[in-house]
């Protein structure tokens, strides 16, 4: 009896302790943030670093666009190019020369002016073969940038980057690149502060720690004030930024929310204004109960299967087409992915700046069986079983199972599902050690080239063995020299038609991004790039 009351007393004590711990803490982080103008942002993962010429990821992207500013930026509503450090620019008639006039009030966070020389030096650093920047190919439209980057040209003066005077920078291209201005808003083309970089070591040393809290000097709308690894990165409004009057947020805190489920709970508990993801299984509930916080919109990305065209039986285009035609994309999109992805029959997502991809096939089991019979496998008889490879993930598995089922049902073909951990899967792809493999691709800029450029003969991202002379001709020489957008898109459509006739890839979905967003958060509209311009974002205080 005595023991029992002891236990009771103990549990009472514990519950008191619990209440004591949380007492008085009624205002959530989000409510406080709304009042103070502090945005709490779920940012998917811990940034690898904050050196814009070295990192490659999406979490880094969102932090870097707050810290740095390139020559131009984008309007989040229209994705139109807006002035950044350059207040104006001229493009020559032939589309090969870009002259940028820098504003005279752009400053580094230590007060130094941002000059044309800063850009020239930064571009030299980013393309230096010694730095080994993985995004250096973004510079390749510039004359000789590729030669310099690969070490074949030692003299950067021969690269098409010229400082005309302190505030004028000129870029010389080898072919008109209609999306050049978009490239300039990518973090790999952001300027870095030379004196700071050199103060912490060699300019091309990847292991330097100049880009750390306390060291880093930046030129964007925010400055880095706190960086606790695996905990958060905090940036605060930069008073020296030339357009500081327009910046409405006082701070942004980026959280490395790599676990979607935890992230969703943090949102529900009022700790985040914005999540990177919504767990697939929670989408129906959110759509029904809180549609106002559920943000699902088309994204510039494709989900597809690629096929190894060097190995039988998939070396026969008819069979590849048959496989593509036997998949009911809309059904999978609706049931397996809860309507989050949308069925697609092209590589380039529709709506890529006015580009309409060709439609060369549709779901047609009868036609697919016909093609298969033509290729020598009537009713799928004698068709060798092959492996379908995907990286280990529940969503990919579900989709693969559905497709496996459809191929069985419509073509009488047996497929084995094989999943591999991410890096193993990448290794298999790179060595073309697969038959059919899942692949996703997110565009770097809004232009069909970011997708179609992958499938040139022996292209680094091709990995299917696909090679077509006409395709290469269009992508490598005809389209790049075409100034008229309509004609260029016509060429791209022709190229994509070839791609979809030959079918080294099997389009399945276009991506949509999925976020939970507080209704107090404004100025972060939906756009196909899932791009945010931090100086537009603001928080409405609660009443």
């Amino acid at each position: 009896m005595i023991k029992t009351t002891g236990f009771l007393r103990l549990s009472l004590l514990l519950s008191l302790l619990i209440t004591a711990c949380s007492g008085g803490d009624t205002e959530t982080r989000v409510v406080a943030g709304n009042r103070e103008g502090v945005l709490h942002f779920g940012n998917y993962g811990e940034p690898q670093g904050l050196d814009p010429h070295i990192v490659t990821g999406v979490p880094e992207h969102y932090i870097l666009t707050s810290l740095f500013e390139g020559l131009v930026t984008k309007n989040p509503y229209t994705l139109d190019i807006e002035p950044g450090v350059a207040e104006s620019w001229e493009i020559s008639e032939d589309g090969l020369t870009y002259t940028f006039h820098l504003r005279d009030d752009a400053k580094w966070s230590n007060g130094d002016p941002v000059t044309a020389e800063d850009f020239r030096w930064s571009f030299q650093r980013a393309t230096s073969p010694l730095l080994g920047s993985e995004y250096s190919y973004m510079y390749y439209p510039i004359v000789n940038a590729e030669a310099y980057n690969s070490g074949n040209l030692a003299d950067f003066d021969q690269v098409g980057v010229k400082v005309l005077d302190e505030l004028t920078l000129q870029l010389q291209l080898h072919s008109p690149t209609p999306y050049l201005l978009q490239l300039l808003d990518h973090y790999s083309l952001f300027p870095v502060h030379r004196a700071t970089v050199e103060a912490f070591g060699d300019a091309t040393d990847r292991l330097s720690n100049w880009a750390r809290e306390g060291n880093i000097v930046t030129n964007g709308s925010f400055v880095l004030t706190e960086w606790q690894i695996n905990s958060h990165v905090r940036v605060e409004k930069n008073p020296l930024y030339w357009d500081a009057d327009k910046v409405k947020l006082n701070a942004i805190v980026f959280y490395p929310t790599e676990n979607q489920i935890t992230e969703e709970r943090m949102f529900r508990d009022g700790q985040l204004h914005w999540t990177r993801e919504i767990p697939l299984e929670k989408i129906p509930a959110y759509q029904q109960d809180q549609p106002e916080v559920t943000r699902i919109a088309p994204y510039l990305g494709s989900y597809f299967y690629m096929m190894n065209t060097t190995r039988p039986p998939l070396d026969d285009a008819r069979i590849r087409r048959a496989l593509a035609m036997a998949v009911d994309r809309d059904l999978i999109a609706e049931t397996v992915t809860q309507g989050v992805y949308r069925g697609s029959t092209s590589l380039v997502p529709p709506g890529t700046k006015g580009y309409e991809p060709p439609k060369t096939f549709s779901f047609d089991p009868e036609g697919a069986r016909h093609l298969l019979a033509e290729a020598g496998y009537p009713d799928g008889e004698g068709f060798p079983a092959f492996d379908l490879l995907y990286n280990t993930h529940e969503d990919h598995r579900k989709i693969a199972v559905a497709i496996q089922q459809m191929w069985m049902q419509n073509l009488n073909i047996t497929v084995n599902l094989v999943n591999q951990e991410w890096k193993v899967y990448l290794d298999s792809q790179n060595n073309m050690n697969y038959q059919v493999a899942r692949r996703g691709w997110i565009g770097d800029y809004v232009d069909p080239y970011t997708f179609l450029g992958m499938y040139i003969t022996d292209g680094g991202n091709n990995k299917t063995g696909f090679s077509n002379a006409r395709y290469d001709e269009i992508i490598l020489s005809q389209a790049p020299s075409e100034l008229d957008q309509e004609k260029r898109y016509k060429l791209y459509r022709e190229a994509e038609t070839i791609l979809l006739e030959e079918m080294p890839i099997l389009p399945i979905f276009t991506y949509q991004y999925k976020h939970l967003a507080s209704t107090n958060l404004k100025g972060m509209p939906d756009n196909i790039m899932d791009y945010y311009n931090w100086k537009y974002a603001y928080l409405e205080p609660d009443e």
């Binding site: 023991k3 949380s22 690898q48 670093g49 073969p129 690894i229 890096k423 193993v424 680094g460």
Partner: protein, 309 residues
């Protein structure tokens, strides 16, 4: 005693050395490297990266140079986080994980031994079955289930507890500590129950009762010391396991500890980081095992006697 300690320390050296060797060659044998990404990297970029991290050297040279650095206490630069050293990352995560592990252990020890002793006082009665059944559930319930469950109840329904973070808001250390400690509490409950049961039938306790000592003195003063011995020898390995096994809890509660680095490193093929964390944690495990052996020897005169001879 000193001979015993010296002997165990000498034993630990080949253990740690083989951990280093096996891990070193195993991570390099795994398919996919640190610089494989979804987007193709050009040959020259890859060559620069590999040279920067000495991956272009023959494997045995890499191994020897790693060993050499390790003896100087340098675990090398992280492959995934340019500009950060493995030492930095480990010592950033360690205090947090250690704090979490400590709270979890205190919780486990308190709840576990209380329940175990309580159960052992009246074996095969409700007083025994109830806590022991709960303990069984505790052992079986994985932390990726218990964590979200606690969060749901205390964080979201009752709204009395913060659900994520570490040291950012008052009370945010409570739920993770309980989640991490629960399984260990259950083990400790079972260990202390069986330990106590064994002791309760010993002659010296009968003597204690015979000389008229009140029951609580018998239990607290005489039985506990022997009965909790299995718990003591479990503490060392338990704390090491808490340090190396906190990954799930750290993920569920968004805690910036060592466990997350450990797992992320494997996914990223961050060779030096995998090696660093593995070597560091295995050293810890060896050390804690050693410590618990010493404590057990010190508490148990028979073991001490054995070593004297």
């Amino acid at each position: 005693m000193w001979r015993f300690i010296g002997f165990r320390v000498l034993q630990a050296i080949p253990v740690i050395l083989s951990v280093i060797t096996v891990t070193f060659f195993l991570v390099r044998a795994a398919p996919g490297g640190p610089f494989d990404t979804e987007k193709a990297v050009s040959e020259q970029v890859r060559a620069v990266l590999e040279a920067r991290y000495q991956l272009d050297l023959p494997l045995h040279e890499q191994y020897l140079s790693y060993l050499g650095d390790l003896f100087k206490g340098d675990m090398g630069p992280s492959f995934y986080y340019p500009g950060r050293s493995v030492n930095d990352l480990i010592f950033q995560g360690l205090p947090i994980t250690a704090e979490l592990g400590f709270y979890a252990l205190v919780f486990a020890l308190f709840i576990g031994s209380l329940a175990g002793v309580f159960a052992a006082l009246k074996p095969n009665s409700a007083q025994d079955y109830v806590p022991m059944s709960i303990a069984m559930v505790g052992i079986c319930m994985p932390s990726f289930l218990l964590g979200p469950l606690l969060v749901l109840v205390f964080g979201i329904w009752l709204d009395v507890m913060p659900i994520s973070g570490w040291g950012n808001s008052p009370g945010d250390k409570v739920l993770p500590s309980i989640t991490l400690g629960a399984m260990y509490a259950a083990y400790i409950a079972r260990l202390s129950r069986s330990g106590m049961l064994e002791v309760m039938n010993q002659d010296y306790l009968r003597t204690a009762r015979a000389k008229g000592l009140p029951e609580h003195v018998v239990v607290l003063k005489h039985a506990l010391r022997g009965g909790l011995l299995p718990v003591i020898s479990y503490l060392g390995p338990a704390f090491a396991a808490l340090l190396s096994g906190s990954f799930v809890v750290e993920t569920v509660f968004q805690i910036p500890g060592l466990g997350r680095f450990y797992i992320q490193a494997a996914f990223n093929r961050d060779y030096t980081m995998i090696l660093g964390t593995t070597v560091f944690l295995s050293t810890l495990i060896v050390v804690f095992n050693l410590l618990s052996d010493i404590v057990a020897a010190w508490l148990n005169p028979r073991l001490r006697y054995q070593f004297r001879n």
